[in-house]
């Protein structure tokens, strides 16, 4: 499925599930939206020192734009390149909408949704298994999620622009811990109201 390179790891992440994996500098990670319009909530931590981690704000400021697309450099809170989007067959991805949580769901959809599974719970499970915790939860990327910002400031998660088999490919610029929540949200269109699996493929140059 990948354009080039030797596959060093390949795995399907079930619908609603967390996932984490170390990707070494020079390796690439391809995320395939198998069934279409599946939000993939995504964070990065420097493998050597996870206090350095993905910063949505630094990434947006450095590129002067809120949307992630081919060529976007994912930057850390210290301004360093962590990964580069080397390919994307979806026009753009989101990094302003954050992760769904039980708590924010209760605000957006009513207190009854507090008992539904959510991305922050996925992230925290991966964090605690890697000696991190709630303090390490920061603003994330949502691959394959569509969040327009309108001139009056109106902003929201709307119908997706992805489709089955579309993908994004990221080259690691340093050794990174990739932490993912394959989004379980069912109250907005970020997963087409039906969470689905995604494929993770790590390659290194041939």
């Amino acid at each position: 499925m990948t354009g080039s390179g030797r596959v060093v790891h390949e795995e399907t992440v079930e619908a609603r599930a967390p996932w984490s994996h170390v990707v070494l500098a020079g390796q690439s990670l391809r995320i395939v939206d198998l069934e279409g319009n599946q939000a993939v909530d995504f964070l990065l931590y420097a493998a050597d020192d996870p206090v350095e981690r993905y910063s949505a704000a630094d990434t947006m400021s450095a590129q002067g734009n809120v949307y992630l697309t081919t060529g976007s450099v994912l930057r850390s809170n210290e301004g360093n390149p962590m990964m580069t989007l080397t390919a994307s067959t979806v026009e753009r991805h989101d990094t302003v909408g954050g992760a769904c949580s039980r708590e924010s769901n209760s605000l957006r959809y009513g207190h009854h949704t507090n008992h539904q599974h959510a991305c922050v719970d996925n992230f925290l499970l991966e964090h605690v298994s890697r000696d991190m915790g709630k303090r390490d939860m920061v603003a994330n990327i949502n691959f394959f999620m569509n969040v327009p910002v309108e001139p009056d400031g109106s902003l929201g998660i709307v119908d997706g622009i992805s489709a089955p088999g579309l993908y994004v490919e990221l080259r690691a610029e340093m050794d990174v811990i990739v932490v993912v929540s394959n989004c379980p949200q069912i109250n907005n269109p970020c997963n087409g109201f039906a969470p689905s699996p995604v494929r993770m493929i790590v390659t290194e140059p041939a």
Partner: protein, 277 residues
């Protein structure tokens, strides 16, 4: 004083004590004075400040000279793993731009502070605070001891004094320097119009730790490190009432205050056990 005045311990002591008489432009009134006044401080460009404010307090951030730029972080004072969540703040309110009537939401679905009044031209919820690399590249001398102190390292020090650290520096909201998002997602800087006297009034909706830096916005196009002082005052006040207009404005805000009230219930039980007020 000449060097010889500080050659002895008594000389050094007198020299040290003489300095307290100086009246600085950038000063703190300690303690603030009137019983209802909680905080009075003017922070120079490049510097930082922190404070714990009780629920109901009104924090006024004022731009006396019209060219200040503030990066703000807020924490639940009693449970500091709970903190400002900028994505939730914009997503839950369906609105990218902060202004009067908006909430600063925590990552636990609760209200940290509300924007009660705002006479500024706007703010920014998307861009980074400066870090060492950014200010080194843009100005040279981005270290905190140099000519262009960066916000991130200032926050690291400010939060370390509160028992927190670099992991706790999340995304900030950036006050007094508006940035517009174009339909293609690109940023347009709108922070060049001076606004002397502009002020933002924030109500604490729980006991909060406020940390802020006064440093140039990262998109400020000026090649020189330029930022005017921030005037801070905070007074005690009444918490949001049941019919508070900000609480009543949207269903999302209503539920955010319900979650906050719910947390305060258990907080009161805790303080009763401790015998505290």
């Amino acid at each position: 004083m000449s060097a010889s005045d500080t050659a002895t311990t008594h000389g050094a002591r007198d020299h040290a004590r003489a300095q307290a008489a100086a009246v600085e432009r950038f000063s703190r009134t300690v303690p603030a004075g009137d019983p209802e006044v909680l905080w009075r401080e003017t922070v120079e460009g490049g510097n930082y400040a922190t404070r714990v404010l009780p629920r109901g307090a009104r924090l006024t951030l004022r731009d006396p000279e019209g060219d200040t730029s503030v990066q703000l972080l807020v924490f639940n004072h009693h449970h500091r793993a709970e903190r400002l969540n900028v994505p939730d703040t914009v997503k839950v309110q369906w609105q990218a731009y902060l202004g009067a009537g908006r909430l600063l939401l925590s990552d636990m679905g609760r209200v940290l502070m509300s924007v009660e009044a705002d006479s500024s031209a706007g703010h920014d919820t998307f861009n980074a605070m400066s870090n060492r690399a950014w200010n080194d590249a843009k100005y040279g001398g981005g270290a905190v001891h140099a000519s262009a102190p960066n916000a991130r390292d200032r926050f690291a020090v400010a939060l370390a004094k509160e028992g927190l650290g670099r992991r706790d520096i999340g995304a900030s909201v950036n006050l007094f320097k508006p940035v517009f998002v174009e339909p293609d997602g690109s940023f347009t800087w709108r922070g060049s119009t001076p606004q002397p006297g502009a002020a933002v009034v924030l109500r604490a909706d729980m006991d909060v730790l406020v940390a802020l830096t006064v440093t140039p916005h990262v998109l400020d196009p000026r090649p020189r490190y330029t930022v005017s002082p921030l005037e801070i005052s905070a007074v005690t006040g009444l918490p949001a009432a049941a019919d508070d207009p900000i609480r009543m404005a949207t269903p999302e805000a209503g539920r955010a205050f319900e979650n906050t009230d719910d947390w305060l219930l258990t907080r009161r039980l805790h303080t009763d056990e401790q015998g505290a007020s």
